[in-house]
Amino acid sequence: MRLSGKGLIDRTKPVSFRFDGNVFQGFEGDTVASALMANEVKLVARSFKYHRPRGVMGAGSEEANALLTVGRGAAQDPNVRATMQEIFDGLETRSQNRWPSLHWDMLSVNDLAAPFLGAGFYYKTFMWPKAFWEKIYEPIIRRSAGLGALSGAHNPDRYEKAFAFCDLLVIGAGPAGLMAALTAARAGADVILAEEDRLMGGRLNGETEEVGGMAGADWAAGVVAELEAMPNVRLMTRTTVTGAYDQGTYGALERVAHHLGDRGGRPLECFWRIVAKRAILCAGAIERPVAFQNNDRPGIMTASAVRTYLNRYGVAPGRRVTVFGNNDGVHQTARDLIAAGVHVAAVIDNRRDATDSNDYPVYRGAEVCNSSGRKGLESVTFRSLSGEDKVETDCLAVSGGWNPSVHLTCHMNGRPVWNEAIQSFVPVDGMIPGMTTAGACQGTFSTHGALSEGAAQAIVALDTLGISAKVTDIPKAEDAPYEVAPLWAVGGKGRAWLDFQNDVTVKDVKQAASENFASVEHMKRYTTQGMSPDQGKNSNVAALAVLADATGRGIPETGTTTFRPPYVPVSIASLGAGAQGAGFAPQRFTTSHNVSVDRGAPMIEAGLWYRPSFFPARGEKTWRQSCDREVNMVRNAVGVCDVSTLGKIDIQGPDAGAFLDFVYTNMFSTLKVGRTRYGLMLREDGTVMDDGTTARLGEQRYVMTTTTAAAGPVLRHLEFVHQCLCPQMDVQMISVTEQWAQFAVAGPKARDLLNDLVDDDLADENWPFMACGPIKVLGVGGRLFRISFSGERAYEIAVPARFGESLFGELNRRAEALGGGLYGMEALNVLRIEKGFITHAEIHGRVTAFDIGMERMVSAKKDCVGKTMSERPGLSGADREQLVGLKPVGPVKQLTAGAHLFEVGAAAVRENEQGYTTSVGYSPTMESYLGLAFLRNGRGRHGEEVVMVDHLRDVTARCVVCDPVFFDPEGGRVRG
């Protein structure tokens, strides 16, 4: 019921929205919860397990009952707190976890079966018959569990992440937070004030009390106005600080556009990484319910929530309201109700010495012990010295006292301590380095106390930063002492709820204790207490008290309650913002990319790069046809391939040669200027890390080539070796991968293609195999390397990247004129397999130089990284799987990579496994499938027949073991 003339809503701006298909009216400034309440909608949700009818319980992000689904279609957003969702025209909301409807929910039969569904019942049943678990029991459990639903469609909304930095982060803008921010801001500090709510002011917006002689809300608005005008202050509303991390890093979720019908391109949410030199937690406190039989009915809510709806939203949660509790908050609530013209049916105060009143009946030393009303509260029963009595009421405001919001202080494993006076846990200093606490979140419940602590903590925090802040005078405010009598669970039969969302009752906790789940962690895990969407914010302390009672221990001895990030649930989309689609990792394009795409080449990922798979020619229907043609082209004419993605590292300095001798197994200090050498690099554990050619361009200058995959790791490794192992060496290195566009020109006609393209005569006496040097390419300064990954006469020609596309086109034109053309990764792979050249398919991190037959490349003349460990007994010898070639014997469907090898006639089982294939391809040159494989004692078994078995692709092939170099073993062709 809406009350006239009250609240911080804009009555000039009516807003209409939908809930479960019905249109409702509210005002700008309303949440879905307040607007539904104004329309006297009590039933808004169903509980998780028993599907009990539930109504709004609180007024903040800790809401345990009123979870809704917002929006439709792909964008539908499940489990949104009705208490946090601001209404706007066109907003669409629905209730969840009910079927067929909120009012008639079939699964509410669970409520009748409650005796059989107590704590941990599922650990004790559903075991017979065995086959039924996956087929019957689990599917039923899964379907009935869960709350809201995802749409199942790709996320259509924009999310964002950002970084922010400040001297002081103030978390929460209640009285303590506002005072802290104001004090720090006036001192000139760089301040961020983050507030979860739409409005700053915290409880002041929900109470009638005065601050500094004016309405609390007005005082707050005044402070906010002053802060807004300061350049050194950043105000962040609708922003929840969700986690505290190391060295002053905080995570914060900003709900940027959830309250907007038209977002105008704004992200829906922004996840902030805030780095703060100091932080003050002013998160306030959460009022706790009291456990009694049927304490979960729609209409039963916290007393502070009732005041908030009255004072902030101008809504009466009921027409005959009863108030129940153990502290003076109940009387404040009654007074506010009376002042708002709402009938107060009774005030039930468990304190014998509670103050009486002439305005409403007060029952002292009494406790509510039951309630009635299936879909909305109709009456409550209470018990006092004079026995049981019943009162008709449609709303019960409950206060079991307050729990400081210590959550963030627990994020680094710190444990809050029990405070007898407030019957709750409070943080201790230093739980989060650099963060202090002020106000209600550390047990100071008076407004005056919060204001002065906020100011004081700001001064202390700034002082540690060398900023002196003046003591600002504290405005006059309520300073009443907080007195509370323990009141956790009212005795009696029936179920009394602790964790409303997960349907955990007092009985469940007691039963857990009786089954030896007596430690807090065991109880939580066995009953799921505290694991629901509110993460125990409303229930952990009470549950702990019940457990303490059940185990005959005091609360402090029983344990403490701790919390893990995030403080409120955070969408995966916000934490993962930017990654949807291609944003997960950078895309790297070669200079020839567009030309390759224009030629119809399918581009495939090679690490972060894209490389052409093959270049389909007219009439070719399969990749194999293109691949075979490209291979033949290279073997018989000339082919061109972009090899720019290989890593290139410029290494210079007087000790460059010595440095390379140490990182490579073989010698490079002896390499002549103008020559290139193949190098093998080991990890310190003795296995092969990478291979490639390194060219000596000058006395003190080399350029190293790495594989595409290892470019980054190899540079990191070189820097490690230099900085950590031999910093005395005078050598410098830097990547030049991006500087050069480099193309392989391979085939018998390679020299013909290049001859009049470059300014030098490429006669073999000037440019023998493995020669390298500077050269001019159509007038542009470049480099030429006579190296080959195909076994043919081949050159790699490099020019500054700006000319890459131009040169690639030119090379292609000239190649085609010579009966050749472009070739892609598929052909490159076949060409190298024919020659037995290895890639990371072979050097996959488990092989040694011995395994690939290169142990002779490990120079005996010097030490090098990995040499000693490579000499371990287990890393060489006949038991090792060694690189071999495989040729099929007789007609076979194909060879496949990832198949296993067995002796002829042996069963294809693990015990008989002899090795596996790593690379295969059809060789048009040899007119046969060829395979590279690792085979136990393989080099000793050339000529032997083995069987290749690929269960997955259903291929079995008899193969003969041979040397991995299938084509031109003498290597004549490469020399021309």
């Binding site: 065991h522 969408s571 990792a585 198949a899 089982v909 690929d950």
Partner: protein, 422 residues
């Protein structure tokens, strides 16, 4: 049967009708005795299953499990609950295969519903090279007698239509499906083994921290604890992330570095992910619990840590992987994140062995972040080793000295001797 009586649907009905007053503790509360035949240090999944199989398979019941905190409070209670047998190296293959077989009979064996759910696991691959590597793995799984199916892109689409097959950064080429892979209710595994061991006479001692290991002339005599000295003929160290510290009590350094691995769970959602799915281009694996929460994880935070909590960069990386692979989970909200202490070895494979030079001292550690699915076989094989002084045949390659000799190194990732890369 035992102290807490047999569990069954009938019992649940009967107790329900009588106010659930008949339930007993799932295990006996005990005071530690001054002496035992065997002492297990560590009341986590592996320690409890070791105790259970010592009693069940070897009739050794004069056994104590000493737990510093509460039973099952370590990694068994803080993981992503995945159960699989999809290894490809000799040594790992037979061991995890054995473990999966034990899982398949675990509920009946323990009379405890650990909710082992063989919903199928799909490892996605994103290049031809990855496909071939997974093919090698799948073929080994079949060689070992387990199950594997190689799915192409369309095959994956049939099972996981919600993946982003169009815009994702690393296109989905296909997946290796392991139909018998799945999940289990992690806490229940610890509790079920605890109940089974306790019923057979094993003493489970909580809040009992081991502070020293008594060794005389190279022979174990017992342990010092926060609850006094306890004599024992044999002592087993089964403390996962704490292995280095406990081994140090015996003067040993281990090939282990302890790292933090984070995991995440979202608010409860109606069924949307029916398998266990893992991404091939960055660590990300996800399943949906029976309660409806999406349970997922990623890679280590990569720095040595005992804090059981992580930092934002890895959280973000994991969520980013999720968003590029299956953007439909964007509006699922992370409810809780936590961290476990992973005992990382130089080759990513575990250790079940005697400690050389100290008679009666054994160690079971180095589970990296594959420990949960190994719980049954690890206990089975550790119990065998402690009872018979011979390694069990499916665990004989898990030797401590393999790093020094280089014999039998099992580096499934191929990343070499850098502890945090496995």
């Amino acid at each position: 049967m035992g102290y807490s009586g047999k569990f069954s649907g009938w019992r649940v009905l009967k107790e329900g009708l009588t106010g659930n007053k008949g339930w007993q503790g799932h295990w006996r509360e005990v005071q530690p005795k001054p002496e035992y035949d065997l002492v297990i240090i560590g009341g986590g999944g592996h320690g409890l299953s070791t105790a259970y199989y010592l009693a069940k398979n070897h009739g050794l019941t004069n056994v104590a499990v000493l737990e510093k905190g509460y039973l099952g409070g370590g990694n068994v209670g803080r993981n992503t609950t995945i159960v699989r047998a999809n290894y490809f190296l000799q040594g790992n293959s037979e061991f995890y295969s054995h473990s999966l077989k034990l899982w398949e009979g675990l509920e009946e064996d323990l009379n405890y519903n650990v909710m082992h759910s063989q919903r199928g696991l799909i490892n996605l691959f994103h290049s031809d090279g990855q496909r071939d590597a997974f093919a090698r793995r799948g073929n080994m799984m079949i060689n070992q007698g387990d199950d594997a199916v190689l799915l192409d892109r369309e095959g994956v689409r049939k099972h996981l239509p919600y993946l982003d097959f169009e815009q994702t950064r690393f296109p989905i080429y296909g997946g290796l499906m392991h139909p018998r892979g799945g999940t289990a209710r992690h806490d229940a595994v610890a509790w079920g083994y605890a109940r089974g061991a306790s019923d057979r006479g094993v003493d489970l001692v909580q809040n009992c921290e081991v502070t020293g290991i008594d060794i005389e002339d190279g022979v174990v005599k017992g342990v010092q604890t926060s609850r006094g000295p306890i004599r024992a003929k044999k002592v087993g160290i089964i403390v996962a992330g704490r292995s280095g510290q406990v081994a140090a009590m015996a003067g040993r350094r281990l090939p282990i570095e302890s790292h933090v691995l984070q995991a995440f769970v979202t608010e409860g959602l109606k069924p949307v992910i029916d398998h266990v799915v893992s991404f091939g281009m960055g660590h990300f694996y996800i399943s949906q619990s029976d309660k409806g929460g999406l349970v997922f994880g990623g890679d280590l935070d990569f720095y040595a840590s005992y804090a059981q909590r992580g930092n934002l960069p890895m959280k973000e990386h994991v969520m980013e992987a999720g968003m590029t692979l299956m953007p439909m989970i964007g509006k699922a909200k992370v409810l809780r994140s936590w961290g476990g202490i992973m005992d990382m070895t130089p080759d990513g494979s575990p250790i079940i062995d005697r400690i050389d030079g100290i008679d009666g001292l054994y160690i079971d550690c180095g589970w990296n972040y594959g420990g949960f699915k190994a719980v049954p076989a690890s206990g089975w094989c550790m119990a065998h080793l402690m009872a018979t002084d011979r390694p069990h045949e499916v665990a004989e390659k898990f030797r401590l000295d393999r790093f020094r000799t280089g014999v039998g190194i099992m580096d499934e990732e191929g990343t070499g001797a850098q502890h945090n890369l496995h």
